[in-house]
């Protein structure tokens, strides 16, 4: 029997991610291990964006290996849990007009760890995503 799918549709994913102000950013660390930090994030025109202060270890890691995973999760109650893990290569955003439109969105929550910190903005396409929505579980106990 095929396994029940509880994944978000693309439209649901865009709606969900658009409401999130920060995400966890996972990177391969230069010491051979894994690293995780938190960052301001937003969605614009169907693309996911996040901003990392330059003094973070995640920022240094991306310079050496641009493969990242940005993770979102919202859990008001057990059967309302939604989450998404967005995988891909982080690309730095240098387009001034685009940055100008993204900054107000990223400033909604600001950097979650270092208040007032700025940094570089990266884009990540919403193409390689693992997601879940517990509201779609049919056999609730």
């Amino acid at each position: 029997m095929p396994r029940e799918s509880i994944a978000l549709t693309h439209d649901e994913l865009v709606a969900f991610a658009s409401n999130e102000r920060w995400c966890v950013v996972a990177t391969n660390d230069e010491d051979g291990g894994l690293w995780a930090d938190a960052a301001a994030c937003c969605v614009a025109d169907g693309t996911f964006y996040f901003r990392l202060p330059r003094e973070t270890r995640a920022f240094a890691n991306i310079l050496k290996d641009d493969r990242v995973c940005c993770i979102l999760e919202r859990a008001p109650a057990y059967y309302e849990i939604k989450g998404a893990s967005i995988h891909g290569k982080a690309s730095i955003v240098i387009n001034g007009m685009l940055l100008g439109s993204l900054i107000p969105l990223l400033e909604r929550g600001g950097d979650p760890v270092s208040a007032g910190a700025r940094g570089d903005v990266y884009s990540l396409p919403l193409t390689d995503v693992a997601s879940f929505d517990f509201a779609k579980i049919k056999a609730k106990v």
Binding site: G32, L34, W35, A38, T56, R67, C69, V113
Partner: protein, 146 residues
């Protein structure tokens, strides 16, 4: 990354006990990082996770036990805080599910969900992933030092 196991520092352990929301990071087959939002448990002083034996994260750790965990405050907490724990993940079998220590989480995970997890752990469908930490700190302290 240091490879010897260290006990969790008291501030990190206290934070994770009070804030079990944890992002578990593993590596996919191609070596790229991936993340799994989870609720952690504390057993024998270590971070543990109950998960399905056949899950992608278990397969990832069987291939490469390298792990990072970011425990954070709730998604709706306006005052964000986080602790990072890095090290190795190992699979534990034949253990009972540790009791959830935060009353909020105990009531949030329904009795039905909790008893089903215990049954599936006993039957071997679920297993415990345990984190052997080699490095752990509050995220604000890590950033301050850089």
């Amino acid at each position: 990354m240091p490879d010897s196991e260290l006990p969790l520092p008291p501030d990190v352990l206290a934070f994770v006990r009070a804030n079990p929301r944890t992002f578990l990071i593993s590596r996919r087959k191609d070596g790229s990082p991936t993340g799994h939002p989870m609720l952690c448990l504390i057993g024998e002083g270590r971070i543990q996770f109950s998960t399905y034996r056949k899950s992608a994260k278990v397969q990832n750790f069987q291939r490469d036990p390298t792990v990072a965990c970011l425990a954070t405050t709730r998604y709706d907490d306006p005052s964000f805080k986080a602790a990072i724990v890095r090290g190795q993940a190992r699979l534990r079998e034949g253990l009972e599910l540790p009791t959830r220590e935060t009353p909020e989480t105990s009531s949030w995970v329904s009795k039905g969900v909790s008893s089903r997890s215990k049954e599936r752990l006993a039957s071997g469908k679920r297993i415990l992933l345990e984190i052997l930490p080699s490095e752990a700190a509050m995220l604000t302290d890590v950033r301050r030092k850089r």
